[in-house]
């Protein structure tokens, strides 16, 4: 129930932040309206980092505590993170074409390392499907999740380490957090979008976690041979379709 309220609050926040970014805040003087994409592009990328951070930390936690609930959290982080990484790439392409003149440049370090991030976590999700032994699956996933997380700082600092097309950080550089190279209203619009995306993120993580727990319950049921047997084994069991339990 509380999660449902969170969902509605997140929906309202995203609508508000999008209206603000699209219609209230003025567009950048040099880039024009295309700059408005920055708000969803950057917020998606930061949320993706956070998702994979959750996957890595929950995986580490699993390796220490051996609690499968942490593995469910790691799975939720990876799946939600893959989606937000795809959003960041899509938003970046829609921004790059009108401003740079190209959708994509394979040789740009930020773009390439982000594509790598997407591939790594799609691999993580596929790897999870290779075994249905919960403990082995969780342990392998935790190790892969920790290794893959190495790419997160590489993506973030790629624009400082290597020469490329992608611009440097406006506020994400440690030296720029207090002194961003953008007007305050742009920074506030970005932070509002980030806050709204964070609410959506929390909602999706909770829902995906709940789903993972249920799916594992089903796996467990299957292992114990309960699947569908309630109806098949008992002639009168159809009446028990809606149990009072």
């Amino acid at each position: 129930m509380k999660t449902r309220i969170l969902g509605f609050v997140a929906l309202a926040a995203v609508i508000g932040a999008a209206v603000n970014g699209l219609f209230v805040v003025p567009a950048d003087l040099n880039q024009g309206d295309a700059q408005r994409i920055m708000y969803v592009h950057v917020a998606s990328a930061w949320i993706a980092y956070a998702s994979f951070g959750v996957t890595a930390l929950a995986g580490l936690g699993y390796l220490i505590r051996r609690d499968l609930r942490l593995d469910a959290l790691a799975l939720a982080g990876a799946e939600v993170g893959v989606m937000f990484t795809a959003f960041a790439i899509w938003g970046g392409m829609m921004w790059g074409r009108p401003v740079w003149g190209v959708y994509w440049q394979w040789e740009d370090p930020r773009l390439t390392t982000t594509a790598l991030l997407l591939a790594l976590y799609i691999g993580y999700l596929l790897l999870r499907r290779l075994t249905d032994d919960p403990a082995r699956r969780a342990a392998r996933a935790a190790v892969v999740g920790l290794i893959a997380a190495v790419d997160i700082p590489i993506v973030h600092f790629s624009v400082l380490w290597w020469r490329g097309l992608h611009q440097g950080p406006t506020i994400g550089d440690p030296s720029k957090i207090l002194n961003p190279s953008a007007p305050l209203q742009f920074v506030l619009a970005l932070l509002a979008m980030l806050a709204a995306f964070t609410l959506v993120w929390a909602y999706l993580l909770i829902r995906r976690y709940q789903l993972a727990r249920l799916e594992w319950q089903l796996e467990e049921d299957a292992r114990r041979g309960l699947v569908q047997t309630a109806r098949l084994a008992l002639p009168g069991a159809a009446a028990a379709e809606e149990p009072a339990r």
Binding site: G101, Q105, P109, A115, G123, W162, Q167, G225
Partner: protein, 153 residues
Amino acid sequence: MTLARPVLPPLPPRGRRWGLLIGVAIVVAVIAYLAFSSVGNALVYYLTPTELLARGPAEVGKTERLGGLVKVGTISGEAPELTFVLTDGTTEISVHAATAPTRSFREGIGAVVEGELGADGVFEASQVIVKHDENYVAPSQGGLPTRAFDPGS
């Protein structure tokens, strides 16, 4: 009432496992390709004018990317005959661009051009990519319209 309980847990069919293995193999191959080919090249995503000229006459006619700042006061002409000068602060190279850059192209901005250096020392660019920076500017008070969507864009 107890339920019928088959002893054997259901295993995923073999075919599905092979499909997944192939999927994982493809992902690993993509990762390896990205890691060893593209990121390596990305270290030299473009050459500066100084670096390009330092390579000497052997560079003439080879496809390269050249990056630098568009020197103030050097832009002239329109797309098939657009010319400007790219500088890195010490060396300058004249560029002739056949295709038009985006509207964010202007004096003093960073640009990356793809093409080849001609024997006459002019870089013949087939593509001009505008490398906008991380600085954002709001329209100033008065003068420019603050309407959200500029119909002219």
